[in-house]
């Protein structure tokens, strides 16, 4: 199933967190993405348990100084990017 508010993203096989000079990275086939604060918060929640909606709510709490609408857009944008990279599976 695709990216929807009630779907539960999970890192696809062969995609996992790693470390490079104490910076967290998302390792995947033939590439690696450096993760900063918010992107790491998102990827850590791609565990097949959190729904997209829950990830948004939790990050809106963590980044309470930011506009909630902006946080939601950023998260959906980042998840779409990971989906395009085939780094996510979505479960119901």
């Amino acid at each position: 199933m695709p990216l929807e508010l009630n779907s539960r993203p999970r890192l696809a096989p062969g995609c996992r967190l790693g470390e490079d000079n104490r910076q967290r990275v998302l390792l995947m086939p033939e590439r690696a993405l450096r993760l900063n604060g918010p992107s790491l918060e998102i990827v850590e929640r791609c565990d097949g348990k959190h729904t997209v909606q829950q990830i948004i709510l939790e990050l809106q709490k963590i980044y309470s100084k930011a506009q909630p609408q902006k946080v939601e857009e950023d998260i959906l944008g980042y998840l779409a990017l990971l989906e395009k990279d085939r780094a996510l599976d979505f479960e119901l």
Binding site: P2, L3, A12, P13, G14, C15, R16, G18, E19, D20, N21, V25, L27, M28, P29, E30, A32, E83, K84, D85, R86
Partner: protein, 368 residues
């Protein structure tokens, strides 16, 4: 860009040159290493640890056929324990269900299964052995495991018209990624080039197909397409730039900036038995030789694209211009581009009966 040295990001571990396949485009050098010269298990362990310390994130196990190493499961476990992402590039031939399960349990992250065609007949012709049916069996076993799966199809004149059938194999499997990589002309492929180079009409058709399928499968399957650079306007950024991202270790332990670097005369390579990976990366003459821009001549030296393609491929410059420091002759700005155009004209002018007849291939042997 100054000549500042970045970390190596990937280690390409050519564990052995032994291989059950005899592919006519093999990227191994014409002079193959024998088993007696291969690095020991312990030596590879040290290499993985040194690689992780030097900042390497990914280890690509390749060959030859890496599964021909009897210690392959230990090597996967050691590389993963060192903190590396472990990728196995294999023909799948020496694999059974028990071995596959052991590899995954040892921490294998990603398996790249090579295919020589979508049809048994083509695949067996190119690999010089019966191999296709076993690959389909491996693909079926992979469903049981949580590991990333890529199918690697090497593309050339005799199979470029089968892309849709190749994609169908991937779509009916658990693969999340498929690579269609046109042959690059080095090693055995350079020797067989005349019979591998696709025609322009074939290439154009393939490009339209890939574009359409990438859109259709977005989010489900990543499709990578590598064009034959003889047809490109600008050269590929070979290895992401000489000594910038990648390090190749040969079966006997020589550290190379590129798979084919041994064709370049006058370069001498350090061996991992004698020096640490970091020392080799930072100081060895071979890695310094074409690092950065100081070696460049015109038109590269002042070219706007020099930080994108780094002057192209040094080995290709040697093979086509007989000069490793020349601008890659596939570049439309290179003085020697007419030579590449003449090669393409030859491939496009020949009558179909000649172009598509089964050629007298030069097969790669299996070293003892």
């Amino acid at each position: 860009m100054a000549n500042e040295i970045s970390n190596p990001l990937a280690l390409i571990a050519e564990l052995t040159h032994r291989c059950p396949l005899h592919c006519v485009y093999c990227s191994n050098p014409l002079e193959l290493q024998t088993r007696a010269n291969e690095l020991s298990t312990e030596m590879w362990f040290r290499v993985f640890n040194e690689a992780a310390e030097a900042g390497v994130l990914q280890a690509d196990f390749t060959g030859g056929e890496p599964l021909n190493r009897p210690d392959i499961v230990e090597l996967v476990r050691a590389a993963r324990s060192a903190g590396l992402y472990v990728n196995l590039i294999t023909s799948g031939l020496p694999l059974d269900e028990t071995k596959l399960a052991a590899l995954v349990a040892a921490g294998l992250d990603h398996i790249q299964l090579s295919f020589q065609g979508a049809r048994e007949e083509t695949a067996n012709e190119i690999s010089g052995t019966k191999s296709h049916a076993q690959k389909l069996r491996v693909l079926d076993w992979l469903r049981q495991h949580r590991v990333a799966v890529t199918l690697n199809f090497v593309i050339h004149r005799r199979n470029i018209d089968q892309l849709a059938e190749m994609l169908a194999i991937a779509e009916s499997s658990c693969a999340t990624r498929i690579e269609f990589a046109n042959v690059q002309y080095y090693g055995w492929a350079f020797a067989n080039r005349e019979n591998l180079l696709p025609t322009r009409a074939q290439l154009d058709q393939s490009l339209a197909f890939i574009k359409r399928e990438q859109e259709r499968l977005q989010g489900r399957m990543r499709i990578e397409y590598v064009v034959p650079d003889y047809y490109a306007k600008y050269p590929k950024p070979c290895m992401g730039g000489w000594g910038r991202k990648l390090m190749v270790i040969t079966p006997s332990g020589d550290a190379l900036p590129c798979h084919a670097a041994q064709v370049i005369p006058g370069l001498s390579f350090e061996n991992v038995k004698a020096r640490s990976l970091r020392e080799i990366w930072e100081h060895s003459a071979a890695f310094q030789k074409f690092r950065g821009e100081d070696w460049m001549r015109e038109p590269c030296r002042t070219c706007d694209r020099r930080e994108q393609d780094f002057g192209g491929c040094r080995c290709q410059a040697l093979l086509l211009a007989r000069d490793a420091a020349a601008t890659d002759p596939v570049c439309s700005l290179a003085p020697l581009r007419p030579k590449v155009d003449a090669i393409l004209a030859g491939a496009n002018a020949a009558p179909p009966a000649q172009l598509f007849a089964k050629p007298a291939w030069l097969y790669r042997p299996n070293p003892s």
